[in-house]
Subunit: 547 residues, 2 copies
């Protein structure tokens, strides 16, 4: 079979669903959330389920077709998910298969994946929609037992994740089963930008820990890793143009080579996740001066970076030129937050420069931000700034700027009213280092709160939970991220109406428990759901599913 990539994917599935309906008599629609508690996280846009239980062959095969039919991204994802799905069917599975095969065989022996486009470009707004059908095999059927159809390989990845969540190991029969089949799911994300920020400056995270975080993001269908690589405490990244910069690393072992960064970007792309790098200027940059003390206005004024020297902007240009080769994502974060310019005024040569240029320190802050934006834009990047730059000089900001909210609610409404795009990260609910925020506050936070015009709503490209790492290192970062990041992930993926029930204790909490335990099973150290403080240990013995 071959498909035209421009054909809406619903057409094929419309035919399929009619066929499925005609092949099974137990098909029951259940769109009512209370009845169809599905344990899929995040909740798909549309789905129907039935009452059949289907068994899945541990030697499940892949039939990949369409213009994207040779995609290594999909093939490797299939192998990953197969390992996840059949983790508990041990090496003895073939014995069971033999026993079982003599009796009846499996209901699902093949997963067909149809990818319409052969483009693997991963940019903001890439089509992540997919349709998934899981139906009992029948000799009369022309369609596969399990089929994912997507316009892009990234839609196929999202479909694979959902398929893996439909599969569960049955301890009685020792086989993987899909309950409530047939399933027909039509799914797509609500927001294009569904991010997690990771700070690797306050604590260094080894590359494989970052990979584990990326892998876990894919389970919740998050799609942007905002990598806050550098901050005032340490500069772990190798910058070939200015090789002394990573002398600002804590130790010679707590560093990322250029190859490490490439590896992270590549690993993320294989999971449909973009990496948005950040170079936070002019504040939060003290560590830069460890290698190049000239970047400090003076030994006692170590940040913000020296606005008076061209060298400062040469270094920024060099860093961005080196990073542009590594990070293909169109968005690049330039920070701009928490800039305390007092000591500029008390540093003689900077004070002189301010006088010469007839600038206040506030104006110099603006000058710095805009000059950094120009450098990023010249490298074909869209600049992202923390909201302070918008709050301070919205009119002067490049109109392409994406405003990154964090200080509180109400900023995205102002930003989109002025025509800027916005990312929602209200710290009161979406800062993961705020350990006193319970899961339901994270869950009910709404990026479109206070924005009624559709045209303005469309400027909110999504949201991001932020993992500032002052008290998070490799020992506890995953349990600080999860499960609350998943609460935000459903907010960003699922339809607003479907997840805005009055009683989320009934509609979301059991699924949330289930997803947390799924993360644990997959080796992600997600903390108990309902502890008052995030990442607290369980309070006593008990099942994962109620803690």
């Amino acid at each position: 079979m071959s498909f035209n990539s421009s054909k809406p994917i619903t057409t094929f599935f419309f035919i399929v669903i009619i066929l499925a309906l005609s092949l099974t008599s137990v098909f029951s629609f259940s769109v009512d959330l209370d009845q169809s508690l599905t344990y899929i996280w995040p909740l798909p846009a549309q789905f129907t389920s039935g009452n059949e239980t289907l068994s899945v062959d541990p030697e499940l095969s892949l039939a990949l077709s369409g213009n994207g039919g040779r995609s290594r991204i999909v093939k490797e994802a299939f192998d990953r998910y197969k390992a996840i799905i059949f983790k508990q069917t041990s090496s003895r599975a073939s014995v069971y298969k033999l026993l079982r095969g003599m009796r009846s065989g499996y209901d699902i022996t093949k997963l067909s994946i149809i990818v319409h486009s052969d483009s693997e470009e991963l940019q903001l707004g890439v089509d992540e929609s997919y349709n998934l059908l899981v139906v009992k095999n029948s000799d009369h059927s022309i369609i596969g037992e399990a089929t994912i159809e997507a316009n892009t390989v990234y839609g196929a990845l999202r479909g694979l994740e959902t398929f893996s969540q439909l599969c569960s190991f049955d301890f009685e029969t020792k086989s993987v089963q899909v309950y409530k089949a047939p399933w027909y799911i039509q799914d797509k994300p609500r927001f294009a930008f569904r991010g997690l920020m990771l700070d690797t400056s306050r604590h260094y995270q080894p590359v494989n820990v970052i990979k584990e975080i990326i892998e876990s993001m894919s389970y919740a269908k998050l799609n942007v890793l905002h990598w806050h690589i550098i901050d005032e405490e340490s500069f772990p990244l190798e910058v070939p143009s200015y090789p002394k910069l990573w002398q600002g690393a804590y130790t010679k072992w707590e560093r990322y080579t250029v190859d490490d960064a490439y590896e992270i970007v590549s690993f993320a792309k294989m999971r449909g996740i973009n990496v948005m790098a950040e170079v936070d200027v002019p504040g939060h940059a003290e560590s830069w001066g460890a290698g190049y003390p000239d970047l400090w206005p003076s030994p006692t004024c170590r940040e913000p970076l020296d606005v008076a020297k061209n060298f400062t902007f040469d270094v920024i240009t060099g860093i961005l030129a080196d990073m542009r080769k590594i990070f293909p994502f169109e968005l690049f974060h330039l920070g701009g937050d928490e800039v305390h310019t007092d000591c500029w005024n008390s540093t003689p040569h900077v004070k002189q420069w301010l006088q010469d240029h007839n600038m206040t320190t506030k104006e110099a802050y603006r000058y710095f931000v805009l000059r950094a934006q120009e450098i990023a834009i010249s490298k074909n990047w869209t600049p992202v700034n923390w909201e302070e730059t918008f709050n301070a000089f919205a009119k002067k900001l490049d109109p392409r700027t994406v405003v990154h909210n964090w200080l509180g609610p109400g900023v995205c409404p102002k930003a989109v009213a002025k025509g800027f795009r916005c990312i929602y990260s209200n710290q009161g609910v979406w800062y993961l280092d705020h350990l006193d925020v319970p899961w339901d506050n994270t869950y009910t936070a709404e990026p479109l709160e206070g924005i009624d015009e559709v045209s303005q709503q469309e400027l909110v490209i999504g949201g991001e939970v932020c993992m500032w790492s002052e008290t998070a290192d490799s020992s506890n970062v995953q349990q600080t991220i999860w499960p609350r990041a998943a609460a935000a992930a459903e907010r960003l993926w699922s339809r607003r109406e479907a997840i805005s029930s009055e009683n989320i204790t009934l509609t979301a909490l059991p699924r949330f428990h289930y997803f947390r335990c799924l993360l644990n099973r997959r080796g992600v150290q997600a903390a108990p759901v309902t502890n008052f403080f995030a990442r607290q240990p369980p309070t006593g013995p008990g099942s994962c599913y109620v803690q």
Copy 2:
């Protein structure tokens, strides 16, 4: 080359070391601990190092010889360690190799492993000694650049771990290097039994989490996983003879199949780790009655198990028969701790039985323990009991019993004085759930404290740190285990004199920091070393190496 497996491994290495000495002029002996801070954990029995830096080829090859030269255990371990050692030399390593190769080539391109015995039997006291030589390649040398010699495959595994700890990634040259070469290490463990207990009843741990724990144990050269599978809260294990037992699991998902248990034993063996299973009777067994309520004396007296019914011992016999197929280790733990027999007396049929048999409840407890021991012994197991059985009726205990200390210090001295073997787990220092025990108390705890006679010292087979899981689940178990388990691991592996310095802040703490960061790099969530409470988050930004 072929070697006689009965030949002491020192002979070969004696020749080697002479050769090595004649080949290098920079060889410097440095047995003084202060000078030779080696960052190897646990500290090897004997070692010398020099002043050379050697580069290691990312395509390091394995030359495996001796009677154990076809061992899959060693081959797979080599592959695992190669992945660990070269984790940071990315896919671009071959480019560097090309560049480097044109210049000079690598110093170490081959690891020779000589295993004298072809036996892969893994039992208490298996020979884990090894010699390791790492020396610059020379055309004049008849020996390999890096050589491990061991009597058994398990000694080879320990040597591989040490070799991996000598290798570190250099961020400037982007290559793996061995500092302070040449290295000559002669190593063997001080105790045969170096255990970690894991409780999977208070919280279920998925199989892959257990595997991660086992893997991490091998990094610290621990060699026994004491699997406290079942307790009063849940009965997760499948028992084919009594298939309703795992109805005592928290949920249908929080279970271990027989295959899972096989898988865990096999995974552990590949890492030189025995699995000592525990069936804790007659206390701590309430969950048994979920499937078989007859095991409860009455609905209001749910433990200890019903001493008055033969059915109770039939079930124990069935469980042990099923488990014997899975667990080949000669030691089997029968619990016996914290048995509160009051409600036996208030249950009419048990009270009657006690009268009929002219027993007090204390005597019935003894009767139960001894009958369970007989069952285990009949299955060719050596019984292990928590110390209460020794404290209560030492004279009646089977002399083969291994006494497992936990209540405090001073028990092993009493046990060995009476001719029993003993495992040291003094809860004040080696219970990992005691979060207020700082690392140095764990480190300085001495299993032979109070035992002066060599013949009695030899009865202390080792020690074990215990991870009771009331407040430890998949989200935090690793950070509760590590790094303190490593403090005990060095105590159990290394020579007492070598690690009994007055000033462990100088001799051990820097190495301990380093090992904790090594665990983090390898994906183990070891908590900061010096936090007052174990598993607390870091208190602020900083390097892994000082937290």
